[in-house]
């Protein structure tokens, strides 16, 4: 391994160091606040490291890793999401009586797992990155173990994730048998030479099962609502953004390398999955009274939209990245509000708890409203150009069925998002005053970041061109 290759991996090393630093801080009995602030600066250091190595890209670290523009984009998205999740975690966990410090170790290690996924181009790094993410997530989901729901969610996620990783490995083994290689591009070369066989397609199918599980695509979505509801709110935000971004990144790289879009069977299957996601996600969300479950179903629908971009092949990658960015910002601000409203005993996940929020706390209601409008894809919010770009590439690739379903299901989606918004502005019930025990500084920091997120949503909604140009610039680095 040369120096330049090591240099390209610098951001990932800093990320790993962050976890070790947190362990050391815990060993020296530092307070939660110190750990939180250090973690924040370590994440900033990761961003700096990425800035520092930007000129050396793209860099291959054969045979397993490649740090290119795609990886940089997705890793940047992941680090950004973790910055916000970390900030939300402080308020959430400081209010819980349990010791929250080890949480940050697991958070950073799970982030490292997702980041490794974005740079992997080999089955071994794919698998290890995925498992690093999963193993950390098992513990994160069950972190508040005194609440029964957390354990139930943890056991469900554990069993299903372990089962799907067995399927994933079986699929990888079949592909290894057919092509004699585990490296994505070598697999692609092997199948262009010899064509696809039954066992190879079966291997691809099993890998799609595993990826579908991690992305909560229909019909592998059954865990999503329960885990979203049972996990602590910041962890739910983490699952909805970071974990899915990482898995999506490796899926994009894998599909590009093996030319998945040229395989008619795979395209048909993914089209059916995308349509099922869009319909099932939106329909299941319609009658939902629990905000966390509602966001789970809505994220199923959103990944259905994202699959439309994915199915468009190389042209859709830019639109997909923009969509993920808009989706992450939106979900993070929505979960930020849930975190702020959560109390010591339970998360604020009942819709009735949001009744008349506007009259109690106009700022929160405004942020939540913008987030929901963005999820619904209303113009002037980030959700609109994101959906528009996906629709454009879908139409360009003549995927009419998908485009029509996308538009129709978006209309259904509008109904339940507007239902929540109308709840926010309804006349308030007599609400018990919420005790505020924390230092106001952290509330200020959280509010500030949420307001920044809100303005980002509006900015992306009004001037998407700047970001899309930058995304395209990154994507050519390969």
């Amino acid at each position: 391994m040369t120096n330049l290759q090591l240099l390209a991996l610098l951001p990932f090393m800093v990320l790993a160091t962050a976890a070790v630093v947190v362990i050391l801080l815990i060993a020296f009995k530092q307070s939660h606040t110190v750990i939180q602030v250090t973690g924040f600066f370590m994440m900033c250091a990761v961003v700096l490291a990425m800035w520092f190595v930007r000129d050396t890209l793209p860099r291959e670290v054969p045979p397993l890793l490649v740090v290119d523009g795609l990886a940089a984009l997705f890793t940047g998205l992941i680090i950004f999401s973790v910055l916000v999740v970390g900030l939300l975690s402080y308020i959430y966990f400081e209010e819980r009586e349990e010791n929250p410090k080890e949480y940050y170790i697991l958070l950073f290690l799970a982030t490292l797992g997702a980041a490794v996924l974005t740079i992997s181009r080999h089955f071994i790094s794919f698998f290890i990155g995925l498992e690093l993410l999963s193993v950390s997530l098992y513990a994160l989901i069950a972190y508040l173990r005194n609440r029964n729901n957390a354990i139930e969610a943890g056991v469900k996620y554990l069993m299903l994730a372990a089962l799907t990783s067995a399927f994933l490995l079986f699929g990888m083994a079949l592909i290894y048998m057919e092509t004699g290689s585990m490296e994505f591009t070598a697999i692609g070369n092997a199948i262009t030479k010899s064509g696809t066989s039954v066992l190879f397609l079966m291997g691809i199918g099993l890998i799609v099962v595993a990826i579908g599980f991690k992305l909560a695509l229909v019909p592998f979505h059954l865990w999503a609502a329960d885990v979203y509801q049972g996990a602590p709110a910041p962890v739910t935000a983490f699952i909805a953004t970071v974990s899915k971004i990482g898995v999506f990144a490796v899926f994009v790289r894998f599909a590009q390398a093996i030319h998945l879009h040229e395989n008619a069977l795979a395209v048909t299957v993914l089209t059916v999955i995308a349509i099922a996601c869009m319909i099932a996600g939106n329909v299941l969300a319609l009658m939902q009274q629990n905000i966390k479950r509602l966001l789970a179903y809505s994220s199923i629908a959103h990944f259905g939209y994202l699959l439309v971009a994915f199915l468009s092949g190389d042209a859709g990658v830019g639109a997909g990245v923009f969509y993920l960015l808009a989706y992450s910002i939106t979900l993070l601000s929505a979960f930020g509000i849930i975190t702020l409203l959560s109390t010591r005993r339970k998360d604020a996940d009942e819709l009735s708890g949001y009744r008349g929020l506007f009259w109690r706390n106009p700022l929160m209601a405004a942020i939540f409203t913008v987030a929901l409008l963005s999820l619904a894809g209303i113009p002037l919010t980030a959700g609109f150009p994101a959906k528009f770009f996906i629709l454009t590439v879908g139409v360009q690739q003549h995927m009419w069925l998908l485009a029509v379903v996308l538009v129709l299901t978006s209309v259904i989606g509008l109904y339940y998002y507007l239902r929540i918004i109308s709840t926010l502005f309804a006349s308030p019930p007599l609400s018990p005053a919420k005790e505020k025990s924390l230092h106001p500084l952290f509330y200020a920091a959280t509010y500030t970041s949420l307001v920044v997120l809100m303005f980002l949503l509006a900015w992306l909604g009004i001037f998407p061109g700047f970001i899309i140009d930058n995304v395209q610039e990154f994507l050519v680095i390969r």
């Binding site: 391994m1 976890a19 045979p63 170790i105 697991l106 290890i128 690093l132």
Partner: protein, 165 residues
Amino acid sequence: MDISQVLFYALSAMALGSAIMVVISRNPVHSVLWLIITFFAISGHYILMNAQFLGIVNLIVYAGAIMVLFLFVIMLMNLNAETEPQKNKWLKLAGVVAGGCLLLVLVAALKQAEVKGKVAMLETGDIGLIRNLGKALFTDFVVPFEISSILFLSAMVGAVVIGKK
């Protein structure tokens, strides 16, 4: 039929038989013991294929460490045949039918596939020796090796966080 073929069939029968016993034993302790026998049979297969390092690691890690951990947990909870929850007959049947269907599909796919004539080398080839594996592990595959050490860190922290009272 030479000795390695006899060994192959004997080990396969042992693996399959004890795997079935894992599933149908009512007592969880017996399940663990049958699973250990399965792992021994699979280790035997590895050694037959001259993958000696993996054969030994399989015994040490799986049969030695992981299964003992399972055994500890089962004994800690004092699980036995009487406390074992049972699904009703129809759900069990449905499970068996679903597994059987998957088996049929996979076998049918394998019949379609062109794997005829390809062989796995038995008793020869030295890629399974510790020297060659170690060389590859610490040159080309050193990054995932380091990442897996971080994975252990994560597992350790996770187990401690969840396990402590």
